[in-house]
Amino acid sequence: MATSSTTPSGAADALALDKPRAPKRPAARRSNFELYSWLFMRISGALLVVLVLGHLFIMNILDGGVHRINFAFVAGRWASPFWQFWDLSMLWLAQIHGGNGVRTIINDYARKETTRFWLKIVLYISMVLILAVGTFVIFTFDPNIPAT
C-alpha cells in the first residue's frame, strides 16, 4: 500500500502533456466572438449577393454599361440617398466580410504568434483606413468641384 504512494505524483509528472500540438495553448476565451463573426459572414454574404450583383448590373450592363460612367453619372447617383445608402452598406459589409475572411486565413496559416499579430495589425489598419476614406467620400461628395 505504502509503496505505491510515490506512483501518482510520478505518473502526474509523466502525464504533464502539451495541449494539442501547439507549443502553448491560449486560455479558452469564453466569449461569443467567433460565433458572431461566423454568423456575420453568412448574413453579410447573403446581402452582398444582392448588393454586388445589383451594382455590377447597373455599372456594367444597363444602358450601355461601363461606357456611360463618368463624373456626372456618379454625381447623379450619389444625389439620391438611396444610392448613397446602397454604396455605403456595400462598402461596410464587403470590407468587414473580406477583412474577417482574411483574419481567419491569417489565423489558419500564420505559424508564429508574432507573424499573426503583425499581419492582423496591418489588416485592421487597412480596413479602418478604407472604411474611413470610403465613408468620408460618400457623405461629403460635392458634385460642384470647381475646375482648377
Partner: protein, 266 residues
C-alpha cells in the same frame, strides 16, 4: 489500445530479410508499395522506400504491409491491432487519403491487367511522426479528453436504468460509431495548419454526448467548443467525412453543434 509492430530483431543487421517468404500464391500480382520511412536515430528527413510485394485480389493492404515487415524489411514500423477495422490503430495516408490499412481491399487498388500498381503509403499528417508510419497520438487524445467524453448527470441517480426512447437514441446514433482512429482529424487542413484546433474527432465525440437525452453536460461541452479553437474553425471542406472509415457524417455533426450553439438549443 494498439500494438506497435516495431523491430524486435536488429542483431542481424539493417534491411535484413526475416524468415524465408512463403511460396508466391497462384494468381498473385506484384504490387509496389512506396512507403515513407523515418528513423529518428538516423534520418534528418523522411525518405521514401519501395518494396515489391505479391498481392492477391483477396488481400487487404495490411497483408502487404505484413509481408514487408515479416519477409522483406523487419525495420518497418506501423501500428495495427485487431486488423478488422474495429480498433482504429492502422490509420495511414494511402494514395493521399486517410484510410485504415485493414479496410483497404486490394481488389479496389489493383491497376488494370498489364499495368503496374504503385501504392503510396505515408503516416497520417498533422501529428508528430515517431517512426515510419506511427505517430504520436497524444495530442489527438488530449483534444478528445478536453471535451469531457463521459456521461455527466446531476441530481439523484435513478433507481433503475436511465430510460431513453428509440427516437432519442437515434439522434446521436451516427456519432457513437467513432473508433478514434484519427483519420478525420489528420485529414483536416485546419488541423494541419494549426494543431490547437480541437479537430473533427473531438467534436464528433462531443456531439455523441451533447445530443444524448440522458446527458446533462451539453452546456459545458458547447461552451468548450464555442472557443476560438472550437467548431467555428471548421471550414466545411468535408475531408473528415470522406476519410471516416466508419462512414460517420462528420461535417454534419460539426454543423449540428454549430446550430446548437447558434440557437442555444440541442
Amino acid at each position: 489500445m494498439s500494438t506497435a509492430v516495431s523491430d524486435n530483431d536488429t542483431s542481424s543487421g539493417p534491411q535484413q530479410a526475416g524468415p524465408k517468404p512463403p511460396p508466391v500464391p497462384e494468381g498473385s500480382r506484384t504490387v509496389t508499395l512506396k512507403i515513407q520511412r523515418f528513423n529518428p536515430e538516423f534520418d534528418e528527413e523522411p525518405r521514401w522506400e519501395s518494396y515489391d510485394v505479391p498481392a492477391l485480389s483477396t488481400d487487404r493492404l495490411l497483408n502487404l504491409l505484413h509481408y514487408v515487415k515479416w519477409y522483406l524489411d523487419g525495420t518497418l514500423a506501423f501500428r495495427r491491432s485487431c486488423a478488422h477495422g474495429v480498433c482504429g490503430s492502422d490509420a495511414m495516408q494511402i494514395n493521399g487519403v486517410n484510410r485504415l490499412a485493414c479496410k483497404v481491399l486490394m481488389k479496389d487498388m489493383l491497376a488494370p491487367q498489364g499495368k503496374p500498381t504503385v501504392i503510396t503509403i505515408a503516416p497520417i499528417k498533422g501529428l508528430p511522426v515517431q517512426k515510419d508510419l506511427y505517430v504520436d497520438m497524444e495530442p489527438f487524445f488530449e483534444a478528445f479528453k478536453a471535451i469531457k467524453p463521459y456521461l455527466i448527470t446531476y441530481g439523484n441517480e435513478p433507481s433503475k436504468e436511465r430510460i431513453q426512447s428509440p427516437a432519442d437514441r437515434e439522434r446521436f446514433d451516427d456519432t457513437t460509431k467513432c473508433i478514434l482512429c484519427a483519420c478525420c482529424t489528420t485529414s483536416c487542413p485546419v488541423y494541419w495548419a494549426d494543431g490547437s484546433y480541437f479537430g473533427p474527432a473531438a467534436i464528433v465525440n462531443a456531439h455523441r454526448f451533447i445530443f444524448d437525452s440522458r446527458d446533462q453536460g451539453a452546456e459545458e461541452r458547447l461552451d468548450i467548443l464555442n472557443d476560438a479553437e472550437g467548431v467555428w474553425r471548421c471550414r466545411t471542406t468535408f475531408n473528415c467525412t470522406d476519410a471516416c472509415p466508419r462512414g460517420i457524417q462528420v461535417t454534419k455533426a460539426i454543423q449540428e453543434v454549430k446550430r446548437a450553439l447558434l440557437f442555444k438549443r440541442v
